[in-house]
């Protein structure tokens, strides 16, 4: 059946939007290492799931790569020291989302060579499935694409299910971001190694790398690095937001729809991000932990825009200072402009899921419109944009009346993955996706009470 679909597939998903991508400022910039900051703020919950448990004390010296917080159960990953230094405090620190979170603050030694001493080398090919899953968990890997879902959970095939295909997500559909693009261009060997491990772990027969067609050079680089017997293919898909959403990507690549409310594994597919697998390819054989990542730093009037390799926990303020970004009245965003978070404070650190740091002067960013909200004129643009084929207009009216339960029961509110297409296109400036986030939170709370 799948083969039949593939024959007739169109290589695209329906709906979605075409924002301006603004990737030219950084797509040609090779990955550079940023200086080590004097102080790192390392939250213990950088992933979805149970926060890690700190295993170091204040005043304790930590070495780069050492575990400083342990995984708390299966739905959790450990946290490693991103730099050699001394733990100066363990306590609540500001986070991008707003509420303060438990973080380990490390004062970095200035004169340290920052050599990674910790490691537990292994040949992944010799391990069985369960051991590999443990090894992946030990790297502290969480999806680097933004959602930060623990990678070992994603790679573990639930009982009674089998994976036939591994899909590698190289879409990077968010405007401005180019870190995955650079990783694909510069580290195709690491990426392919990671894909081979993931194939081994999941037992999938083949892997497909899906890349948006505005990054054809990345596809070429990966193809050039392929070994003849690799069951890996590279495919270009349409450049359209949110192509990188896994359900949209599977539709584009394979012509299949993940059942509503289900996961890709329900139809035998495992999806992983390119950045995640490239890191895994590098870390797994060495038995090291995830301590740094590539972040795209760009925006308006950012002279030194580029892709920077930096330790996890680097504070935003330090990055801005290093790159000489000083203008007033700015909006600072972690992640992409469609789904990223604008920061309440500059003392927020880069975490495992941070793919971009965007700095904007408010006016040039939002466009020429004011923030006047007009009534819905039923133009149907949101209906035509929603990749999940929801009815944002109708849900917007219901949200205005606070009929949150009805949104869930009659209009599939929980299928919304908050890509923001509806708010992007709305000519009435109605904050649709923002409404839906509130509605979901209220519904969750109501259920918790019941």
């Amino acid at each position: 059946m799948l083969a039949l679909f593939e024959k007739f597939r169109k290589g695209r998903f329906s709906h979605g939007i075409h924002p301006r991508y603004h990737k030219d400022a950084t797509r040609g910039k090779a990955i550079q290492r940023l200086a080590f900051p004097p102080r790192l703020i390392v939250p213990v919950a950088q992933h979805i799931g149970a926060p890690a448990k700190p295993v170091v004390n204040v005043g304790q010296e930590v070495l780069r790569g050492q575990i400083i917080a342990e995984a708390d159960g299966f739905m959790s990953v450990p946290v490693h020291a991103p730099a050699t230094g001394v733990v100066s405090s363990i306590g609540l620190m500001p986070s991008a989302a707003g509420p303060k979170v438990l973080s380990i603050v490390i004062d970095v030694y200035k004169a340290s060579s920052q050599y990674v001493l910790y490691g537990n080398p292994v040949e992944p090919e010799t391990l069985d499935h369960d051991e590999l899953i443990q090894r992946v968990q030990a790297t502290g890997m969480a999806g680097l694409g933004g959602a930060a879902f623990p990678s070992h959970v994603k790679l573990r095939i639930p009982h009674g299910k089998t994976a036939h295909t591994l899909v590698v997500n190289g879409c990077e559909c968010e405007p401005y971001l180019t870190c995955d693009h650079r990783v694909m261009l510069e580290q195709p060997q690491d990426l392919l190694q990671g894909i081979r491990y993931a194939l081994h772990i999941t037992g999938a027969k083949r892997a497909i790398v899906g890349i948006e067609d505005n990054k054809a050079d990345a596809a070429t680089a990966i193809k050039a690095a392929l070994k003849p017997d690799d069951p890996i293919t590279v495919k270009l898909v349409e450049t359209k937001y949110p192509q990188g959403a896994e359900k949209m990507l599977l539709k584009s690549l394979l012509g299949v729809e993940v059942p509503a409310g289900g996961l890709p594994i329900d139809i035998g597919i495992v999806v992983n991000n390119v950045g995640t697998l490239a890191q895994l390819g590098k870390l797994l054989p060495k038995g090291e932990g995830l301590i740094e990542r590539v972040v795209t730093v760009t925006g308006t009037n950012v002279a030194k825009a580029g892709n920077y390799l930096m330790p996890i926990g680097t504070p935003v303020r330090f990055i801005l200072e290093q790159l000489g970004i000083t203008a007033d009245h700015e909006k600072v965003i972690l992640g992409g402009p469609m789904m990223g978070m604008s920061l309440p404070s500059l003392d927020v650190p880069i975490t495992k899921g941070t793919s971009g740091l965007l700095v904007f002067q408010e006016r040039t960013f939002i466009g020429e419109q004011g923030e006047t909200v007009f009534p819905c004129i039923k133009c149907s643009r949101c209906v035509d944009a929603c990749p999940m084929h929801l009815n944002p207009a109708q849900m917007g009216w219901l949200a205005g009346k606070r009929h949150y339960a009805e949104m869930e029961s009659d209009f599939h509110l929980n299928s919304c993955f908050e890509c923001g297409c509806c708010s992007f296109v709305c000519p009435s400036n109605i904050p649709l996706v923002q409404y839906f986030r509130i509605a979901k939170a209220v519904n969750r709370e109501q259920k918790g009470k019941a």
């Binding site: 359900k247 303020r317 200072e321």
Partner: protein, 347 residues
Amino acid sequence: MSKKHIVLHTAPHVKKPQDVPTIMRNVVYALLPIVAFAVYQFGISVLALVIVTTLACLGTERFFNWMGNKPSSLSDWSSTISGILLALTLPPGFPLWMAAVAGIAGIAIGKAVFGGIGYNVFNPALVGRAFVQAAFPVAITTWTPAFFTGRFSEFVPSSLTAPFMMPPETAEWVKQVAVDGFTGATPLSLHKFQHISTAPFDLYTGMVAGSAGETSALLILVCGLYLVIRKMMNWQIPAWIFVGVVATSGVLYLINPEKFADPVFMLFSGGLMLGAMFMASDMVGSPLTPKGVMIYGLLIGFLTVLIRQFGSLSEGIMYAILLGNAMTPLIDTWTQPRLFGARRKSA
């Protein structure tokens, strides 16, 4: 670094730079050539008509803003559109005071009572026209010859009728100014009541009698195309109406070509083009999904032909659109989009 403040905002942080006033303003731009042609064709009477209806609509809108203690909504341009569209659907020599009544009624009954822009069920311009159609049945079917001499220096006598008075008989005046053979009838009524057909070329280009802005089908198409290209109009709505009209009238024509008009005539005569391009496509009164739009368009096309051929009126697009507007909420509930990944109904 010195930082005065940081702006907090929830995602998405980017926005398509096209808001409601931009769209509405462009609709006004698209209507201006049609207005210009109508003025060229029928003279200063039409110019006065457009000004009067637009002012009536804007004034009424503002009045209801004031009544509801709300900020002025004139800058969203939607009432300007209603005013211009209303004028374009009226006969060129329509008494100005009646036109003002139509504008006031359209905005008051058609829009303001529902809560203003976005909340109206019906197209306000058509509500206004329907109101005066019922109130002044004679005046609204009194036509003026196109291109009469002196049209830029004098009003059609009926235009300047004193408020609350009935317009004078224009038959004498028409005889004076008319091009030979003007019978005071539109191509549709000629066909319906006298079985005379009009040359197709005259129909396409608008060299016929009719409402102020409905005569040149080609010009209306071009202006509509501008909005389609700028993605400010859903082209599927007029397209489905055309399909509905051609299909319905085609079947009738095949059954009895003597009695029923051919599809091309149906397509290019009367207010169909103006109604399909600029009134049925009004976003507020039309369905949300492509499937809904199909039902809506076909229904309007079907009803238009039905009214034209079997009703007592020679024109049917207005009531067809109003009925389509009324059906829209129902159509929307029938045609909810299919959730991505939802199981298809087993065939």
